[in-house]
């Protein structure tokens, strides 16, 4: 199982005002807001945590078939953080997801997996033949076999990811 979420920081500046009164309280737990406020760039941390929630939600939605807007139920913790890579975990109603977020200029890209070992086995397939099932979940078709992929686009960025099958 895999989920991803890409964010174009420049696009967020046009589309969202994360400083809007009451907004952070509706999206982030108190612990997450402390992580945001203590970071040297609260803006980047807002979108890192948001992309973690979105990437994890994509798997949660595949597993449970439940569709709802549950940012406060997707609880993020950050384990390792440097200026370009942030590793963490998102928990949601007994489910747990490993995440890896890559920062590159205006690009924030989070990948979430169920198994932590899978997080280093990610491919970005080119020329992939993507089909969607009746729930709208995307798959890559390789020699008539369906492999799950996750697709995200925002602003100038588009990312498709899949797990490597050996």
């Amino acid at each position: 199982m895999i989920g991803n979420d890409v964010i174009d920081l420049e696009a967020t500046r046009v589309q969202s005002n994360w400083k809007r009164p009451g907004l952070l309280e509706k999206l982030f737990t108190q612990e997450e807001r402390e992580v945001i406020n203590s970071h040297n760039s609260p803006e980047i941390m807002v979108w890192v945590l948001w992309s973690m929630k979105e990437a994890a939600y994509k798997i949660y939605n595949r597993q449970t078939k439940l569709r709802s807007f549950i940012p406060l139920q997707l609880i993020c913790t950050i384990d390792v953080s440097c200026s370009t890579v942030i590793r963490g975990v998102v928990k949601c109603n007994g489910f747990i997801y490993a995440t890896k977020t890559v920062l590159d200029g205006n690009l924030i890209h989070t990948i979430a997996t169920v198994n932590i070992i899978d997080i280093e086995k990610i491919e970005e397939p080119e020329n992939s033949n993507v089909i969607k099932d009746t729930s709208g979940i995307p798959y890559q078709l390789i020699e008539n076999e369906m492999y799950p992929v996750s697709i995200s686009h925002h602003g100038r960025f588009y990312k498709i990811v899949s797990l490597k099958y050996c």
Partner: protein, 82 residues
């Protein structure tokens, strides 16, 4: 408040966040904010905050969790503005 009044006001609220203009022009109770109107999920919270301000109500978390489509939004607002 009547449902017709609510949907008119809601239409003005969602306008800045819509990415599918055609779906917006045909917006009705069955419209889904994300799937139909193309609202970015990060902007759903803006719709919730705008609804709170414009209708002078408080949307709690379980209500926000359900607010993915126009019908549910109207249901929630209708009860609170009785």
């Amino acid at each position: 408040m009547k449902r017709e009044e609510i949907i008119e006001k809601l239409k003005t609220i969602v306008k800045p966040y819509v990415n599918n203009q055609e779906a917006y022009e045909n917006m009705n109770e069955s419209s889904d904010f994300i799937k139909d109107l193309g609202v970015n999920s990060a902007n759903l919270v803006d719709i919730v905050l705008d609804v709170e301000e414009q209708f002078n109500i408080v949307i709690d978390n379980p209500e926000m969790e359900r607010m993915l489509d126009v019908k549910t939004a109207i249901d929630i607002i209708e009860v609170k503005t009785e």
